[in-house]
């Protein structure tokens, strides 16, 4: 591995590319050649740094960590001379390092503990040497030389690691099932079909630390006897697909994949399969159907994948995050991992925070932390200092939990008992301006759309629920709707074939339980308390506050607003479509929703 005294990371974010990032890289490289610095300074591509709307192209020089911005080609010779020959900062192009922002992954907050995300953002993802320098593939070496497959499984079992895809099944046990299954060909599959809206932790791991997933899978293959592996990644993540493909190629080139890995006699081949946009493919049996080239429809279990999985052969599926943490468990020991966390949920979990919270993005916390700590301490509280209303955990099959649950210690069991799920770690925070009936309708729209159509309770049941919720939001709700909804929720949950169907009613069930008053306001009083449901609200201009600036009238898509310049305007309720654009735009808060 060559050593460079400096590394230059050039942002190749799409916007920076448009601003000439590649040309800049070329010029920089040329200048380094000219000055005889090519062996000392390495130029690398990186994802977005800084804000490409206002700056760019951007680059960072390490180890100093100096952020240069707004660069053009003619600046390069001067910059190279100052930075790399004279060894001082070219101050006119530099900006404060604090301004570098990664909107998805900021510096860890006090209550965070990063294991999975630890090296993301600091390690060059597609440099296998750099991964190795961070103890990468050491765990693989350890299991191959010092541990039997059974000992490896026991170590994972002792760590208490449970499936990070959401179901929370002990990983070691799953591996043991596959090891004990009879069959000549066994498969090890990585579920990278992170379809839950609002969850993007897997994407960041695949893009930022792909070799940890590859290593985890090889260790799994050794422990279980699988000789062929697949990473099934959703097509909505083109960069992740590219990164993991390249990482696999690199591992193969150095003999970490293929035949006789590290001289141990272990054979394991790994391939990437891409989804094509179907949420249900995150369900393990549907995922396997999709790898086989079929419609992604779930199959009834049993037989479980460990007996009859991919092409009828024994198979094991784990999530990206699960595989990614395996090498560290092997290296640091089961006890280290088991000591982190809470009760039966050991270790840490990543959460993707989105919605009305100040710091959106990825976080990683030990199990046992409360929702309040996550939202207020790590997340910085609610945006615009509004009031918290609910948090939806675990993606579209999770429930919406109100304030009363904020002090619940987070683990698989606690969330389950609260009527929600941990799922893949999506957290959508909602403030007081959110209508819970509308949100429930919104989630049903999603599951109804994504229902694969194979079993009746899910296919027809979700549609019936959606119809009723839509009617309620339109002000046409009937008193009998509430018991009907409850009944439908129960039937769908009990009778659906797969987890998607079983979990589909959760958003409705939980909102019915915790926010029944909002349903009742919609049905009995034809009123939307959060002022969201279009049919139940109308917009008015408060005469005293309106300055007649005409901004609303100019932006109204249906020309429903009229009035003379500098005179109070009026909204014609017959034309208004309640789009809310005027209310958003008005600089004087003169638009009122009633």
């Amino acid at each position: 591995m060559a050593y460079f005294r400096s590394h230059v990371l050039v942002s190749v974010d799409p916007k920076c590319i448009k601003k000439g990032a590649f040309e800049l890289m070329g010029a920089l490289q040329d200048e380094l050649v000219k000055q005889g610095l090519v062996d000392e300074v390495e130029v690398l591509e990186t994802s977005r740094i800084g804000d490409p709307d206002t700056s760019g192209p951007d680059m960072i020089v390490y180890p100093e960590g100096i952020h240069y911005t707004n660069l053009s080609l003619k600046d390069i010779p001067f910059l190279v001379e100052e930075q790399f020959i004279k060894g001082r900062v070219a101050a006119q192009y530099a900006r404060e390092i604090e301004e570098i922002s990664d909107e998805e992954l900021s510096a860890p907050q006090e209550k965070e503990l990063r294991i999975v995300l630890e090296n993301i953002g600091t390690v060059i993802p597609l440099n296998i040497e750099e991964y190795i320098a961070h103890d990468g593939y050491m765990a693989l070496g350890k299991v191959l030389t010092e541990m039997t497959p059974e000992e490896t499984i026991q170590e994972v079992l002792d760590s208490g690691l449970r499936g990070r895809g959401g179901a929370g099944f002990p990983t070691g046990l799953k591996w043991r099932f596959l090891r004990n299954a009879e069959g000549d060909q066994k498969y090890m599959i990585c579920n990278a079909d992170e379809g839950d809206p609002g969850a993007f932790a897997n994407r960041r791991v695949l893009e930022g630390y792909p070799h940890s997933v590859v290593e985890g899978m090889i260790i799994g293959a050794y422990a279980t006897g699988a000789s062929q592996g697949y990473v099934y990644c959703r097509a909505e993540y083109p960069i992740a697909v590219k990164t993991i493909r390249t990482a696999i190629e690199q591992a193969r080139e150095v003999g970490l994949l293929g035949e006789n890995i590290l001289g141990s006699g272990l054979t394991f081949n790994l391939e990437v399969r891409m989804g094509a946009g179907a949420f249900v493919c995150g369900e393990e049996t549907a995922l396997m159907a999709s790898i086989e080239g079929l419609r992604g429809e779930p199959r009834p279990r049993p037989p479980f994948p460990a007996q009859q999985g991919l092409w009828g052969q024994p198979s094991n599926i784990n999530n990206v995050e699960t595989f990614s943490v395996i090498p560290q468990i092997i290296l640091k020991g089961a006890e280290w991992f088991a000591n982190i966390g809470y009760k039966k949920s050991t270790g840490t979990k990543t959460f993707s925070m989105a919605g009305d919270v100040k710091n959106t993005g990825l976080i990683e916390v030990p199990f046992g932390i409360t929702l309040r700590e996550i939202i207020y301490d790590v997340g910085g509280g609610i945006k615009d200092d509004k009031k918290f209303k609910a948090v939806q955990t675990g993606g579209p099959m999770g429930g919406c939990l109100p304030e009363a649950y904020l002090d619940l210690p987070m683990d698989y069991e606690a969330l389950d008992q609260a009527g929600s799920i941990l799922g893949s770690g999506g957290l959508v925070v909602m403030d007081e301006g959110t209508c819970m009936v509308d949100i429930a309708r919104f989630f049903m729209e999603f599951t109804q759309e994504e229902s694969c159509g194979k079993c009746t309770p899910c296919r027809i049941g979700t549609r019936r629920i959606l119809e009723i919720l839509t009617r309620i939001c339109e002000g046409k709700g009937k008193p009998e709707d509430i018991p009907t909804l409850r009944n439908l929720c129960e039937q769908i949950n009990e009778n659906s074939l797969c987890g998607l169907g079983k979990g589909a009613p959760n958003p409705v069930k939980s909102t019915l339980e915790h926010f029944l008053d909002e349903y009742e306001a919609h049905i009995y009083e034809k009123r939307c308390p959060a002022k969201v449901c279009k049919a139940l609200i109308h917009f008015e201009i408060i005469e005293e506050l309106c300055t007649g600036c005409t901004l609303c009238a100019r932006n109204c898509p249906v020309d429903a607003i009229s009035g003379e310049r500098r005179q109070p305007h009026v909204i014609d309720p017959d034309i208004c479509i309640q789009c809310g654009i005027c209310e958003q735009l008005c600089p004087y808060d003169a638009i009122e929703i009633n």
Partner: protein, 159 residues
């Protein structure tokens, strides 16, 4: 995404090359359909017939797979495909007004293609860039933190 109209023979030739490259195992069906969709902008009847013969898979099966997955289309699409994220994080971050503006600006509803074949408007499932919602994608360009006022500007980048 530049899509050129290809003649039937050309389409058949392209499909043949793809099958030769990837093999005719059933497991290759979805990757091949992906590539056809990328090349043509959609999966045409001719392509389905040719695939059926080469891979020895009934056209009914290919059609059922092609219509199951959201990213595969059996209908022709416009020169530029706009995908708007309809997921909850974008929804609560103000996605709804952006979606309205987008529909109104283009005069299209979800799934429609404009008469001049310039635009196809689609909703997409979560793209996993929820930190910058609302998010829209035009061809391969991702736009985050989109507001209704920005919509006309974004659209004017494409011809």
């Amino acid at each position: 995404m530049k899509v050129e109209v290809k003649e039937g023979t050309e389409v058949r030739k392209m499909v043949r090359t793809l099958v030769e490259e990837k093999g005719s195992e059933k497991a290759e069906l979805i990757p091949i359909l992906h590539d056809i969709n990328g090349e043509l902008g959609y999966i045409s009847d001719v392509a389905i017939q040719e695939l059926s013969e080469l891979m020895n898979i009934p056209t009914s099966h290919i059609y059922s797979v092609a219509t199951f997955y959201r990213m595969l289309s059996t209908d022709p699409r416009g020169r530029h495909v706009i995908q708007f994220c309809e997921s909850a994080p974008c929804h609560v971050a103000g996605g709804r007004v952006v979606w309205q503006k987008l529909q109104q600006e283009l005069g299209l509803s979800n799934g429609e293609t404009s008469e001049d074949e310039k635009w196809t408007l689609l909703t997409t499932s979560c793209l996993g860039v929820c930190g910058v919602g609302p998010v829209m994608v035009v061809d391969h360009d991702i736009y985050g933190n989109v507001t209704p006022e920005q919509v006309p500007d974004i659209l004017s980048n494409y011809d």
